[in-house]
Amino acid sequence: MNRVDVILSERELERLTSVIDSSGAPGYSVARHITGRGAHGLVASESLEVTGLGTNVHVIIFCEEPVAEALRTALRPLLAYYGGVAFVSTCEPI
């Protein structure tokens, strides 16, 4: 099985979950209040809370490979426009 990790701004969370839903993934988990650094600079809690831009979310999807493939296709334009990163690794259900 695959594990997909996506990290992007919480403002795109709804877009992301609808992409996940239509990819056929059996579920997903969301951690909010993620800060960090990436190609678009620093995301720090204090100021983004105040500006309304918010912080990042970290979304994890455990799914079969074809679903991960579908996610790949659907995610790329989203990440290209709004920023964010996504990585795939392998795992097994316990």
Partner: protein, 332 residues
Amino acid sequence: MVDTALALQNILTPPVLFFFLGVLAVLLGSDLEIPAPLPKLFSLYLLLAIGFTGGVQLERSGLSLTVLLSVGAAVLMASVIPLYSFLILRTRLDIYNSAAIAAAYGSTSAVTYITAESFLRVLELPYDGFMVAALALMESPAIIVGLLLVRLLGRSSRKPGQEKVGLGAVLHEAFLNSSVFLLIGSLLVGFLVAQQGPTGVQKLELFTDKLFYGVLTFFLLDMGLVAARRLNELRRAGPFLIGFAVLMPLINAALAIGLAAVLGMSQGTALLFAVLCAGSSYIAVPAAMRMTVPEANPSLYISTGLGLTFPFNIIVGIPLYLQVIKTVIPAS
């Protein structure tokens, strides 16, 4: 010559002193922080409270010509400021960053407005509480003008295959952004409740009034932390943007004071109007710009407003504008 007594009177209030304390904490490297989502609690409270109080005042004054003129003037300024700001910014920056920063300066800063209102209450200078309606209505036009600038002048660069953000989405963001929505909503609630008579208003006033100054103090402590952390980024932004962040509020406030004199606003109301025009939005505009102009660098349009224009208005601007107003507009 600046009236030092007036300036000191503004600086030596708890909210402004705690703002300094926050700045100091960052400069000295203290680990003081107000962890998320507590700042959100404060800002939700402040928006709800000023919206509600503004609605009550609006109901009391009625939808008179004065109200319409004042609010109209604010909407006008919110549309015009981005235009000349854009022209100035384009001398050094690309279209995207220019449009985003211009939109931020067209709109306004709720916390600066609130601090000015508190200052007026300490001085016991009367002012029109309905100006909060102007505060609520300045975000949207600035966002829309900023977007039009990008659409008309910068569209070609968008690569095919990239997501396209429709005008609907932008208007949605301009009017339904959580801060704008809560402000306008609370205003309407205040209006409706005030129409029912004084009991409902009094019951909530214990909450919206008595806590207000304390929550503002807490929030400004946090804003001090936030603004000081932005100072570094600003240094990297270079002298052009630093100059812009200080001169722009002066220009906008000067225009606003002139307009206020023409429209016959009272001294207190004129200060609120000047502060509305001098402020730069870091609440609704950044969120809208990020969606519609992802090409622009958020650290530029947030840092200028939050790191420099905001503290400048709080510390220097408010007493300075009031001093100017006192020479231009006679006391009523």
